[in-house]
C-alpha cells in the first residue's frame, strides 16, 4: 500500500480537527511553561538547547517512548508524508490512546511493582494482578487511586487483582513496607528495618511505626466455613484413627490445591519491636503504635481501618514526596533521566537539576488529578521532547539540564517489541491463547471456591473419607511397585524401572480423578440450590462430573481455535495471495491461516508474555528485569546478545517468507525500493546517498537474489543504530 492511500485512514483515526492537546488550553499552557522553565535553566548554566529533530527521528522516538516499539513501515510512511502543522501533537494523542501504550507501561509498572506471572503467591493471584494492572492502564486510572487500591486491597483475587500487591511479599510484611516507601515515596528504608539508617535520618523506630499500618496484611489460601466445620467434625469423630485423619486432611488439600494463595486478609495483631532492639527510645519487644514518618500526622481511631488510613495519607496531595516521585518517574520515562536521580532515593538534601521545573511538574500532576496520560501529554508536546538527544555521555555525577532527551539503548522490551513489529502484521494484538487460558482458569477456580463454600460440611467430610479409602489402596499399589523395583534394580533392568515410573504416575492421575469425583458427588448431594445451579452452569449442558474435574485442573487452549472476524479472515486471505498462495490451494491457505492464528504465541508484545519471560528468552538475554527486585532491568552489552542477533533461529525468522518485513520487501520491485523499505522499516528513514552506494556495491558482488536480501535484513538488524533511540 502506498503512503498517500493510507493517509485518509490515518487521519480518520485521530480526527482532522486539531490535536486534543491544542484543544485543552490548560495542558497547552503547561507545556509552554515547561519549555520556558527549561530555557531559564539553560540560560543560567550557559547551555544551548539541542536543535529540533526531523520527522524521521521524531516518529521513531515517539513510538518507542509512548508505545514501546518502532513504528511499522505504514505508520512511518503515513507520518512522514502527512501534511499537518501539528502532526507531532496529533501523533502523541493517537499513541497515548492506543493498546501499545498499555503494553509499554505494563512493562514499566511490572518492573516497579515486581509483578510476576508465576510468583511466590502462586499463579492465580499473580495473573489476576497482571490483569488488574493492564486494565488500570487501559482505563487510565488516576495514579493516586491506583496506589490507594493497591495499598488497601483485601479479600479474594477473584474480587480484585490488586491483592497481588501484598501477596507479592507474602510472609515478608516488613520488606513489603520498605518496597512501598521506595516505590511511592522514593524513600529507602530497608536499612532501617534492622538498625537506624546509617546515611539518612530514619531511625529503626520510624520504620516500625510505619510498618504498624501494614504488617497485618497477610496472604493466605482458600478457607470456608464449611471446610473449617468439616475439619472440626473430623477431629471429634472417634471412629477415625490418626492415619485416616491425615489422609482426609490431604484429600481436602488436594481438592483446594488450585485455590492456594488467593486471599489477602488483615489480621489484628500488634507489631512489636525486635528482640534485639538496641536504642534508648524504646525497649525490645515494645508494642509499636502506628505513626507516619513525615507529613500530616495520622491518628488511628478505634474503628479505623489502618491500611485505609495509611493509603489515604500516602496518596494525599499534601504528602511531601508522593507527587514528586510519580512526576519525576514519568519525566524520566519521557526524557531518559529524572530531574532528581535516583528517582527512588530522596533525602532532605536532594535537589532537582531544575528545582523550579520540578516544582511545576508536581503542581501539574496535582492539577491533572494524577491523570498519567494528561501529564505525559504535557511532556510529550514540549519542544524539549522534539529536540535532538544529547550526543555526549550524560555523566551521572553531574546535573543534566535537558537540552534534549537522553540518548539511550532501547530497553529489552523495546528491542523485542520492535522485532515483533518487523515480524507480525498486527504487533499490538494480545496473546489470545494466554489471556484466554488465564480467563478460563480464573473463572473455574472462582466457581470451585463458590461450590466448596456452599457445600455442607458433612458432605465434605464424606468426600474426604472416600478419597482416604482410595489413598489406602494406592499405598498397597506403592508396596507392589516397590517390590518390583527391587527386582528390576537388582537385574539392572532399565526398561522395567521406566515402566514402574509410568505406573506410579498413572496412579497419581487416578488419585486426582478420584478427588474431583468424590467432591463432585458431595456437591451433587448438596441441598443448596445455588450449588446445583453452579454445577449445571459449569457443565453447560454436558457431563457435570467432567465439569467438576475440569474445575480442578488447568485449562488448555489451542491457538488454532482463536476466533476470527470476517474482516480478519479477509485480510488473511489477501495476505495469503501476496505470499503467492492461490485461492484454490486450500491446504496452503489453511497452513497460512494457522500460522497467522498461532503467531501471537511467539511474536507478541513483551507485556503479553509471562512476566518475566522465562530464563534464556531473548528478553532476559537483553536485560529484562527478573522482577524479583524493583526496576532490576539493565542495558549492559553482552556477547550472548550479539550471538543471538547474528545467529539465533528466532531472529532469522525476520527474513523468512511470511514475516511482515519480508512481505514488505517482496512488494518492492527494484533493489533501490527494497533498500529504502528496509531502512524505513528498521530506522524510520531512508538511506543516505553514501550508504545506498555502498550497499549497491555490495549487492553487485552478492547478486540480488533472495539470500542477498536475507543477508541485508540480518545485517541491518545487528546494527547499533537499531538498538539505540536517537
Amino acid at each position: 500500500m502506498k503512503a498517500n492511500l493510507l493517509l485518509p485512514f490515518f487521519a480518520a483515526i485521530i480526527g482532522m480537527t486539531g490535536s486534543l492537546h491544542a484543544k485543552n488550553p490548560d495542558l497547552a499552557a503547561a507545556t509552554k511553561k515547561v519549555d520556558e522553565l527549561l530555557a531559564v535553566g539553560w540560560t543560567k548554566h550557559k547551555i544551548a538547547p539541542n536543535p529540533i529533530v526531523g520527522d524521521e527521528v521524531f516518529v521513531r522516538r515517539a513510538y518507542l517512548t509512548v508505545v514501546g516499539r518502532i513504528p511499522t513501515l505504514e505508520e512511518t510512511q503515513a507520518f512522514l508524508t502527512w501534511q499537518s502543522p501539528d502532526k507531532r501533537s496529533k501523533l502523541v494523542d493517537k499513541l497515548l490512546s492506543s493498546d501499545g501504550y498499555v503494553h509499554h507501561f505494563v512493562n514499566y509498572w511490572a518492573d516497579v511493582l515486581r509483578a510476576q506471572s508465576q510468583g511466590v503467591g502462586g499463579s492465580t493471584t499473580a495473573q489476576s494482578y497482571m490483569n488488574y494492572l493492564r486494565q488500570a492502564l487501559r482505563e487510565n486510572k488516576p495514579f493516586d487511586q491506583l496506589t490507594r487500591e493497591l495499598i488497601s486491597a483485601e479479600g479474594s483475587c477473584f474480587d480484585t487483582g490488586a491483592i497481588g500487591y501484598y501477596m507479592r511479599d507474602r510472609g515478608m510484611p516488613l520488606d513489603n513496607l520498605s518496597n512501598t516507601t521506595r516505590i511511592f515515596l522514593g524513600t529507602r528504608m530497608e536499612c532501617a528495618q534492622c538498625h537506624d539508617h546509617p546515611f539518612d535520618k530514619w531511625r529503626q523506630k520510624d520504620f516500625y511505626q510505619m510498618a504498624a499500618f501494614t504488617h497485618n496484611m497477610s496472604g493466605g489460601s482458600f478457607q470456608s466455613a464449611s471446610i473449617t466445620e468439616a475439619q472440626k467434625m473430623m477431629a471429634k469423630d472417634k471412629s477415625l484413627d490418626a492415619d485416616t485423619r491425615d489422609l482426609m486432611r490431604r484429600a481436602i488439600t488436594e481438592a483446594t490445591r488450585s485455590l492456594r494463595d488467593t486471599i489477602v486478609t488483615q489480621n489484628k495483631a500488634s507489631l512489636r519491636l525486635p528482640h534485639d532492639y538496641k536504642y534508648s527510645d524504646a525497649k525490645p519487644k515494645d508494642v509499636v503504635q502506628a505513626s507516619v514518618m513525615f507529613g500530616k500526622p495520622v491518628t488511628l481511631q478505634k474503628e479505623a481501618n489502618p491500611i485505609q488510613e495509611f493509603a489515604k495519607w500516602l496518596t494525599s496531595p499534601e504528602n511531601p514526596r508522593f507527587t514528586n516521585v510519580v512526576a519525576n518517574r514519568l519525566w524520566k520515562r519521557v526524557f531518559g533521566l529524572g530531574l532528581i536521580e535516583p528517582v527512588d532515593e530522596l533525602m532532605d538534601s536532594s535537589v532537582a537539576s531544575n528545582p523550579e521545573l520540578m516544582k511545576f511538574l508536581e503542581q501539574t500532576m496535582r492539577a491533572v488529578n494524577y491523570d498519567m496520560k494528561a501529564y505525559l501529554k504535557v511532556l510529550l508536546n514540549t519542544q524539549a521532547f522534539s529536540r535532538a538527544s544529547t550526543r555526549e555521555e550524560v555523566n551521572a555525577a553531574e546535573p543534566y539540564y535537558f537540552q534534549g532527551p537522553v540518548f539511550r539503548r532501547m530497553s529489552s522490551e523495546q528491542i523485542w517489541d520492535s522485532l515483533v513489529t518487523l515480524v507480525s502484521p498486527d504487533p499490538d494484538q494480545p496473546n489470545w491463547s494466554s489471556r484466554e487460558r488465564e480467563q478460563r482458569d480464573l473463572e473455574k477456580r472462582n466457581q470451585l471456591s463458590e461450590l466448596l463454600k456452599k457445600t455442607e460440611a458433612p458432605l465434605i467430610l464424606e468426600a474426604a473419607k472416600q478419597v482416604a479409602v482410595l489413598m489406602r489402596e494406592q499405598n498397597k499399589e506403592f508396596d507392589k511397585l516397590r517390590a518390583e523395583l527391587d527386582v528390576a534394580r537388582a537385574k539392572d533392568d532399565k526398561e522395567r524401572v521406566k515402566d514402574i515410573q509410568r505406573r506410579l504416575n498413572q496412579s497419581q492421575t487416578i488419585l486426582r480423578q478420584t478427588v474431583s469425583k468424590c467432591f463432585y458427588e458431595a456437591a451433587k448431594k448438596s441441598g443448596n440450590k445455588e450449588v446445583q445451579k453452579a454445577l449445571a452452569d459449569a457443565a453447560e449442558g454436558s457431563d457435570m462430573e467432567m465439569a467438576m474435574m475440569n474445575m480442578m485442573s488447568d485449562s488448555r487452549v489451542d491457538a488454532r481455535d482463536m476466533p476470527l472476524s470476517d474482516a480478519e479472515m479477509k485480510q488473511i486471505q489477501a495476505d495469503a495471495a501476496l505470499v503467492g498462495i492461490k485461492p484454490k490451494d486450500e491446504k496452503s491457505l489453511k497452513s497460512y491461516t494457522n500460522y497467522r492464528k498461532t503467531l501471537h504465541q511467539t511474536w507478541c508484545r513483551a507485556a503479553e508474555l509471562p512476566s518475566p519471560a522465562p530464563r534464556g528468552h531473548f528478553l532476559r538475554e537483553f536485560g529484562q528485569s527478573d522482577r524479583d527486585i524493583i526496576e532490576n532491568a539493565n542495558d549492559e552489552a553482552s556477547v550472548p546478545q550479539a550471538l543471538a542477533m547474528m545467529n539465533s533461529a528466532l531472529v532469522a525468522q525476520l527474513s523468512s517468507g511470511w514475516s511482515e518485513l519480508a512481505m514488505n520487501l517482496r512488494k518492492c520491485q527494484e533493489p533501490e525500493d527494497k533498500i529504502n523499505t528496509l531502512y524505513l522499516s528498521l530506522f524510520s528513514r531512508k538511506p543516505t546517498v553514501k550508504e545506498q552506494a555502498a550497499l549497491f556495491e555490495l549487492l553487485e558482488t552478492a547478486g540480488t537474489g533472495n539470500t542477498a536480501f536475507e543477508d541485508l535484513i540480518l545485517g541491518a538488524i545487528s546494527t547499533q543504530r537499531f538498538l539505540f533511540i536517537e
Binding site: E392, R482, D628, S638, M646, F724
Partner: protein, 436 residues
C-alpha cells in the same frame, strides 16, 4: 570483503582473551553497581570468618539436589531403626565406619575421598527460602538479591579462563540467585541443556562464511555514520561486543562446551541423561579453566512414594557422581577440584500416610576433593533421625568452608548498590578441621 575477520586475525590472542573476559557476560557500563563504600559507619562484617589459608581448591563443582533430598535414604541411613528407614537399607563403603544407602552402590566405592556432613541444619522448610539460603548464606528478602558463591568467586578473583565465563550453571531453575547484586557478568552462564553446547555460536544452516561476512559488512555500512555521531560508551560497548562475538565463534575454547569431543565410553559412563552429561560438561569446563560450575538435578520432593522415587533419583546421581569422582581422580584434578553435593533441606524421619517423607530442616551434604580429608564423617543426627546430636552445621558454615578452600577473603565487607554491607558467607564459620 570479509573485513571483520581480517581485523580479527590481526589482533593478538591474548588481548582478545582479556577483552572477552570483560564482555562474556556483559561489560560493566555502570561502575557504580559495584562501587565499594569505604567509610565504615558501623561494625559491618562483624562475626564473619577471619580464618585464612593457602587455597586448597581451585575449582568447585556443586551438585545441587533440587527439592530437598531425603538424607535418610542417601547419606544418613539409620540401619538399626526400621521404623525410620522403611524399605531402605544401608551398605558399607570404602571408608571405614561410613555407611550410606543401598541406592548409591557405585558412590560407596569412592567414599574414601568423601567427607559426609550429617549435621546440616537450615532455618526453614520452605523450598524457595531454603534453596536461596543454601546458595547465598542469606535469608530470602524482597528488597535485595544476594550473590551465589560462584558470583563471589568471580567478583574477588575474576574468571579462570578470560575467554570463558567465570561461573556456569547447568539446570533450569529460573529462580537461581545468580549474580545477586553484583554486575551481571559475575552471574552464571545458564545452560539448560548440556548437550546443546553454547547457544547461537554457529551461523544458521546455509549461512556460509561469505554470507556471514556480508552481513557484518552491511552492518558496518549502516552503522558508520551513526557510530561516528554517537561515540558513547554504550554504542562502543556494542561495537566491541559484536567483534568479540565473532571472535568467540572462532575460538578454540568453545570446545569446552562440546561434549561430542568425548569418547563414547566416557559419555556412557556419566549416564546419558541431562544430569550425567551436565557433570561431564562440568569436568570439561574445569579443564578449560572455568572455576565454579553448579549442576542441578532432580525433583527430590518425595511427599508421595518416597521409596520408589528416591531409589530412581539415586540411580542417576550414583552413576554420574561416581563417574565424576573417578574421572577427576584419573586426570589428577580431584586434588584441586572440590565436589559438593547438597540440597535445600532433608526429609522427615516419619514416613507419612502416602509412603512419602515431608520437608525437614535437617539434612546432609558431602564434600570430596579440593583438599578435603576423605573417608570421614562430620556431625551426626540422633538415632531416631529427629535432631542434631553433634556439631551442627549451617548453610553459611558450609559456604564458608568452600570459600575457605578457595581462599576467598571471608571478612572483606562488600557494599551492595543500596549501600548495605555483606561478606561472603555472612557469619558462617569454615570447618577448617575437615581439610587434610
Amino acid at each position: 570483503m570479509n573485513t571483520t575477520f581480517r581485523k580479527a586475525n590481526e589482533l593478538d590472542r591474548r588481548s582478545f582473551l582479556a577483552r572477552t573476559a570483560q564482555s562474556m557476560l556483559g561489560v560493566g557500563l555502570l561502575p557504580v553497581t559495584e562501587q565499594m563504600f569505604s567509610g565504615k559507619v558501623f561494625a559491618a562484617g562483624e562475626g564473619s570468618a577471619t580464618a585464612k589459608q593457602v587455597p586448597t581448591a581451585r575449582n568447585v563443582i556443586m551438585l545441587y539436589m533440587t527439592g530437598g533430598q531425603s538424607h535418610l535414604d542417601t547419606w544418613d541411613p539409620k540401619p538399626k531403626n526400621k521404623e525410620v528407614m522403611g524399605a531402605t537399607k544401608a551398605i558399607p563403603t570404602s571408608a571405614d565406619g561410613v555407611m550410606i544407602s543401598e541406592y548409591l552402590p557405585r558412590t560407596a566405592k569412592f567414599m574414601h575421598h568423601a567427607c559426609v556432613i550429617n549435621s546440616m541444619a537450615t532455618n526453614t522448610a520452605a523450598h524457595e527460602q531454603a534453596n536461596y539460603f543454601m546458595h547465598t548464606s542469606f535469608g530470602l528478602r524482597s528488597t535485595i538479591k544476594h550473590p551465589g558463591l560462584g558470583a563471589w568467586l568471580s567478583y574477588f578473583q575474576g574468571a579462570g579462563n578470560p575467554a570463558l565465563p567465570a561461573y556456569v550453571y547447568v539446570g533450569n531453575d529460573s529462580r537461581h540467585p545468580g549474580a545477586g547484586f553484583f554486575a551481571k557478568r559475575h552471574g552464571p552462564l545458564m545452560v539448560n541443556n548440556p548437550e546443546a553446547g553454547l547457544q547461537n555460536v554457529r551461523p544458521q544452516r546455509g549461512v556460509t562464511d561469505q554470507r556471514f561476512g556480508m552481513r557484518r559488512e552491511v552492518a558496518d555500512i549502516m552503522d558508520a555514520e551513526f557510530q561516528a555521531a554517537h561515540a558513547t560508551r554504550g554504542v562502543k560497548a556494542y561495537a566491541d561486543m559484536y567483534d568479540d562475538a565473532v571472535r568467540l565463534m572462532r575460538s578454540e575454547d568453545l570446545a569446552a562446551f562440546d561434549l561430542t569431543q568425548e569418547p563414547d565410553a566416557i559419555r556412557q559412563a556419566y549416564g546419558k541423561d541431562t544430569f550425567g552429561q551436565g557433570c561431564l560438561l562440568a569436568r570439561r569446563l574445569v579443564e578449560h579453566g572455568v572455576r565454579f560450575i553448579e549442576v542441578a538435578f532432580g525433583s527430590w520432593d518425595t511427599h508421595v512414594a518416597n521409596f520408589i522415587n528416591t531409589p530412581r533419583l539415586c540411580d542417576t546421581l550414583d552413576v554420574a557422581l561416581s563417574a565424576l569422582v573417578n574421572d577427576l581422580e584419573r586426570r589428577g584434578l580431584l586434588d584441586s577440584t572440590m565436589i559438593l553435593v547438597t540440597s535445600e533441606f532433608g526429609r522427615t524421619p516419619k514416613i507419612n500416610q502416602n509412603q512419602g517423607r515431608d520437608h525437614y530442616p535437617i539434612f546432609s551434604s558431602v564434600l570430596m576433593g579440593g583438599g578435603i580429608q576423605g573417608g570421614q564423617k562430620y556431625g551426626s543426627t540422633t538415632e531416631d533421625g529427629a535432631g542434631i546430636a553433634t556439631d551442627k552445621v549451617s548453610p553459611p558454615d558450609l559456604n564458608a568452608t568452600i570459600g575457605y578452600a578457595l581462599g576467598l577473603p571471608m571478612d572483606q565487607v562488600i557494599y551492595s548498590p543500596s549501600k548495605r554491607p555483606f561478606t561472603v558467607a555472612d557469619k558462617g564459620q569454615p570447618l577448617t578441621h575437615l581439610f587434610a
